[in-house]
Every structure is written in C-alpha cells, then in structure tokens.
C-alpha cells in the first residue's frame, strides 16, 4: 500500500487550509525539522493526542558482525522511542486490516 509522505501532507495543507504550495511545503519541512532539532537537543517532544517522542540512553553492549562472526562492541548511544498517545492507540486498535504490515 502507498505510504503517506511529506508531499501528501503539503497537498492536504494546500487543499484544506489554502496555504500556497510554497508555504505548505515549508510548513511540513519546518514541522519535522523542529521535532528533530528538539530531540537533537536532548529534549523530549510531547504531541498530545498523537504521542511522545522520548530519548533513551543505551549502554555499550556486546555485538557481533553477522557476516564474519567477529565480536564488536555496540557503542553506548542515545536513541529515540515513540510512545503513541491514548487517542492514537484507540484509533489504530480499531483497524480491522487483515494483513499485518512488515
């Protein structure tokens, strides 16, 4: 199935809000840039109704190159996790699709 992209989000803003094409495209770009910048500053992002983007610090752990079998430690890192909000969870749970997405 086709995926929703930035182009479609911009098209929606053009159609529904009457932003011009340039403004709509900029709006979508800035929206995701701002979320990414906030996370890059180690600041959690909370979008009520949709969900929270949280940050977690992972310690170094042992890893292995799956091709060669060689042991290489996976370095300590900070990762983003998404915790869907209640409203989004309820909406998605109701999806009666028969084909789980891969």
């Amino acid at each position: 199935m086709a995926a929703l992209t930035k182009a479609e989000l911009a098209e929606k803003l053009f159609e529904e809000l009457g932003l011009n094409k340039r403004e709509a495209k900029d709006m979508v770009d800035i929206f995701f840039d701002e979320i990414r910048d906030s996370l890059g500053r180690n600041e959690q992002v909370k979008l009520s109704g949709f969900g929270n983007f949280d940050l977690r610090d992972k310690r170094q752990r042992p890893g292995r190159n799956p091709k060669t079998g060689e042991e290489i430690p996976i370095s300590a890192r900070r990762v983003v996790t998404f915790k869907p909000g209640q409203k989004l969870k309820v909406r998605v749970e109701a999806y009666a699709g028969t084909q789980p997405q891969s």
């Binding site: 995926a3 979320i35 990414r36 996790t81 909406r91």
Partner: protein, 97 residues
C-alpha cells in the same frame, strides 16, 4: 517541547503566517497522520523516520487483581522507526566533545 511550543517555534520561522494558521496546520498534519495509520497506511518521512502498524497476536491475559483469565483479541499498535538523519542527530548530542 509540547505541541504549543512547537507551534510557537514554527510561528517564529514563518512570520508571514498567523499563529492561528500555524496552529491549524499542525493539527491538520497530526490528524491526517493519525487517520492514515488508523486506516492501515504507513507514513514515510525522509530524514525523520517511518510509522507503521505492528500486529499483536491474540493472547490469554490475566486480571492482576482478581487472577481471572481474559481472552485478549489481536490488535494493531503504532510503531515508529527513526530515520538515519534523526538517529545521527540524536546520537551526536550524547557524545562527549
């Protein structure tokens, strides 16, 4: 950062738009994204990441208070996979200079 702070930040970068329009745009985008996911459509934002649905198989659960068993139906849950740019930006912020 909350939704209202996000709106303020966008307004600061798009001064030709009214705060009201920016607020409406943010709500429209989030609603459209929720709607896509709940109709089973993935979301792919280059440089940011992708949202998809993960299936949770039916299982027998237990009410922790009463110990009673309950049959839980299969369901879908939203899943986010950060894109490379986002992963790198977040990980770099944690490095000691």
């Amino acid at each position: 950062m909350t939704k209202s702070e996000l709106i303020e930040n966008i307004v600061a970068r798009q001064p030709q738009l009214s705060p009201k329009d920016v607020e409406l745009a943010v709500k429209t985008m989030l609603d459209y994204m929720s709607q896509s996911l709940s109709s089973g459509e993935r979301i792919e934002i280059r440089g940011f990441g992708s949202f998809s649905l993960h299936y949770r198989a039916p299982r027998t659960g237990r009410n922790p208070k009463t110990g009673e068993t309950v049959e839980l139906k299969g369901k879908y849950v939203p899943h986010f996979k950060p894109g490379k740019e986002l992963r790198d930006q977040v990980n770099d912020s944690g490095e000691e200079e």
